[in-house]
Amino acid sequence: MVTTAFTPIASLIGGALIGLSAVMLMALTGRIAGVSGIAARLLPPYTDNEFAGRLAFVAGLVVAPVVVLVVTGTMPVQTIQASAFVLTLAGFLVGFGAVWGNGCTSGHGVCGLSRLSMRSAVATIVFMAAAIVTVFVARHWG
């Protein structure tokens, strides 16, 4: 594992930007800013005609690191140590679980908690606990 620096100010500012984005999406389109819900609905079957807007949102996400690179001159730090096998397994579980549980870190963790939703509070506690246990087992067992 690599150690990472504690960045309370940058994390608070970045978090506030995520919140600003969620508020803007609700004010403009009336939708929850849940990335898993938006991404899942880019895949068939299609049940409404908001494909273009969802694609635009996802394109904005993808362009963000490039904007940071252009503005600051350096690509932000990103360390991925998982193997291709672990990435495949993890991606599948994240995609399945997010759709099965109607949301992910953004939809339940940010938007749901802000709406004081009991379902989102339960979901957030469960996925935090499951992730903490998984990291503990992966890093400290065996």
Binding site: F6, L20, P65, A90, A98, C104, V110, A138
Partner: protein
């Protein structure tokens, strides 16, 4: 105009993920590794990301509630479901295991595509497959009658 603004909103979300450090799986995993509290490697930054995001969203959502409708839409699409069923436990449990394995959740994983990371391509492709399987299973009437009767809205 709606499309342009949704691109801008996605960009702000992505910038938030990058600036906050949440787009770095190592940072996420070091937050989730509570054993790091004892050994000094714990990175509590993620709690500040959540705090900043929830604080702004909570205040903003309360203001929006006073509006009759969204700028580019007929109505607000808010989840109406209240009851705690099996899926609101099992879904996040499965999600959490995947999140803990790689340190990626959907937002940071999609954003990581812009880093030109091949790891992100693998993760996002597998994530899309998982999403499609879950949607297919959820759409099967026999299954959803057992698991989630209220999902048939």
């Amino acid at each position: 105009m709606a499309i342009v603004s949704q691109f801008a909103i996605g960009l702000i979300f992505g910038l938030g993920l990058v600036i906050s450090g949440m787009s770095d799986p190592a940072k996420v995993l070091n937050f989730l590794d509570l054993a790091g509290i004892g050994s000094g490697t714990w990175d509590p930054s993620l709690a500040f990301v959540m705090a900043g995001a929830v604080a702004v969203t909570f205040v903003g959502y309360n203001r929006i509630q006073k509006q009759p409708r969204p700028v580019f839409g007929e109505k607000f699409h808010l989840p109406t479901k209240q009851e705690l069923d099996l899926r609101i436990i099992s879904g996040p449990a499965i999600f959490g295991v995947g999140w803990g394995l790689a340190g990626f959740c959907p937002g940071p994983a999609v954003t990581a595509l812009g880093f030109g990371s091949s790891a992100a391509v693998i993760f996002v492709a597998a994530m899309a497959a998982g999403m499609m399987l879950a949607r297919w299973l959820a759409d099967r009437p026999s299954l959803s009658r057992i698991a989630t009767p209220a999902d048939q809205t």
